[in-house]
Each structure stands twice: as C-alpha cells, then as structure tokens.
Symmetry: C2
Subunit: 117 residues, 2 copies
DNA sequence: CATCACAGTATCCTTTTCGACACTATGTGC
DNA sequence: GCACATAGTGTCGAAAAGGATACTGTGATG
C-alpha cells in the first residue's frame, strides 16, 4: 500500500506490519523470490517467469521495490532497451523471510483443502 | 484477497505467494502476532491492542483467519458475550514466518528513512 | 517494406478493500 | 429507568488495487 514512504505506523504489531507493507502488492514477493533464486534478470525474463502478471503490474511492483531499496534497476542505454533487475543488499536480507514464507507454503498448502476447505 | 478457498494458484512463486495470500489483509499478521505473544485473547482485548482497527475489520480478519484454520474461536454462551481467540496448531506453525517478519522489521525499519527515503 | 522484440506508458474500467457510522441483545451498576 | 460493556452485524461510500488493451520508438530480421 505505501506508495512512497508511508504511513505513520499503526505501531501495534508495528515492525511486523511495516515489513508486510513492504512486500504487499500481489506480486512483490514472487518477484523477490524469482530474483533470489534467479539472480539478475531482465524485465521480460521476469515476465516470462510469472506469466500471470501484466506489464503494468510488473512495472509497478518493480518500481516500488526499487523505491523501497529492495531491488536494483540497471539500465543499459543500448538500442533494444536492456534493463536488468537484481536484489540489493537490503533485498537479499529478506531471504529468511521469503524462505520462511516459502517453506511454510510448501508444507501446508498441498494439504490445504484437507484442513481449511 | 481470497475470501474463501481461492484462486487456482498463479503457480509461479506459488507457495510463497499462496502463503502471503493467507496473511494478507491489513491486520492479519498483527492479529496473529498478538495472539502469538499474548496467548488467548478476547475480542475487545485484541481491539485494545490494535487501536487502529475497526470492529468490522477485526471481525472480518478473525473470521478469515478462522476459516483458514489459523485461529480458534471459542464462544461462551454467557450473557455478556465472551469470545476467546487463540492460535490453532496451524496458526502456531506460522511462528517462524511471523518472527522472520518481525525481526527483519526490527532491524531494518528503524533506519528506514536513511535507506529508502 | 513489414514485422518482431525490448521495456516500458497511458488510459480506462472493474473489483476489492477499508473506514465511518448506526444498530442489535442482554445483564449489571448507578 | 439509564447508560455501559460485550461481541458483534449491516449498510454506505470512497479510495485503492489491479486487469485489459492500446500505444511508443528503435534496431535487427525476413
């Protein structure tokens, strides 16, 4: 939700919430995850890795991630434009979070229907 | 986002995304966090712990968490109604995720302005 | 000459989310 | 008799998120 810097924190669960806010938006963690395992990727590479995302959304999410200092955007001024995205230090520091998310999902979502449906 | 069971997964970063979907909605993790550290809580106790949440929202989030099998809702049929919420097994299994979120937040959000603003 | 890929913009429109506010029923305290 | 607390529900409406589609400019390719 926070477009820019965002929101006097609700300060209640606070750091938890604030962290979540950084990675909200339907595609952010997926993008971060892809960059985490895939290293440096070009715009269309990410697009192909996440077929369901639209260009507009991907652009959006990448811009927000960049603004939050989580990914680095490197533009090569060549003629078929070439733009590479990679995780920043800060982005890479999210690895435990992303991985915790992923392993929980791996363990719990296969049996999701059995438990929650 | 998923009200009920939700969404043929985008299956791209998949388990990561799906997990995130379970705890989206502005207040879910805060609630989970409060229940994690606070144990069993009554409706209005949670409300007081998270002053910014409205009743409607809190009710909503609790209902979704219950539907997802993450919290347990126990109603005592006494006359000033008494309803207690606590984490289920499944909910408690999210602890590493919530804690990863929290510790990242604690480490990174104090210096946020310095890095991202 | 027409088309493709690249990395986007721009515009429009629908859906979802969320907050504000009012309302419920009941037992207790004043 | 009145308000209060409990744990909600219901309705309304604004704002945000997100999807669909069309468009840009350039160089290489056919």
């Amino acid at each position: 939700m926070p477009r820019k810097v965002a929101k006097p924190p609700t300060c209640a669960g606070c750091s938890v919430e604030a962290t979540l806010n950084l990675i909200d938006g339907k595609w952010k963690i997926v993008v971060l995850y892809k960059l985490l395992v895939g290293g440096t990727l070009r715009f269309n590479e990410i697009r192909r890795l996440i077929p369901a995302v639209t260009q507009r959304m991907l652009t959006n999410q990448l811009r927000e991630l960049e603004a939050d200092g989580l990914v680095i955007r490197k533009v090569y001024p060549v003629v078929p434009p070439r733009v590479e995205y990679s995780l920043s230090e800060r982005g890479r520091s999210l690895e435990p979070v992303i991985m915790a998310l992923k392993s929980w999902g791996d363990m719990n979502l296969s049996s999701e229907r059995a438990q929650a449906a």
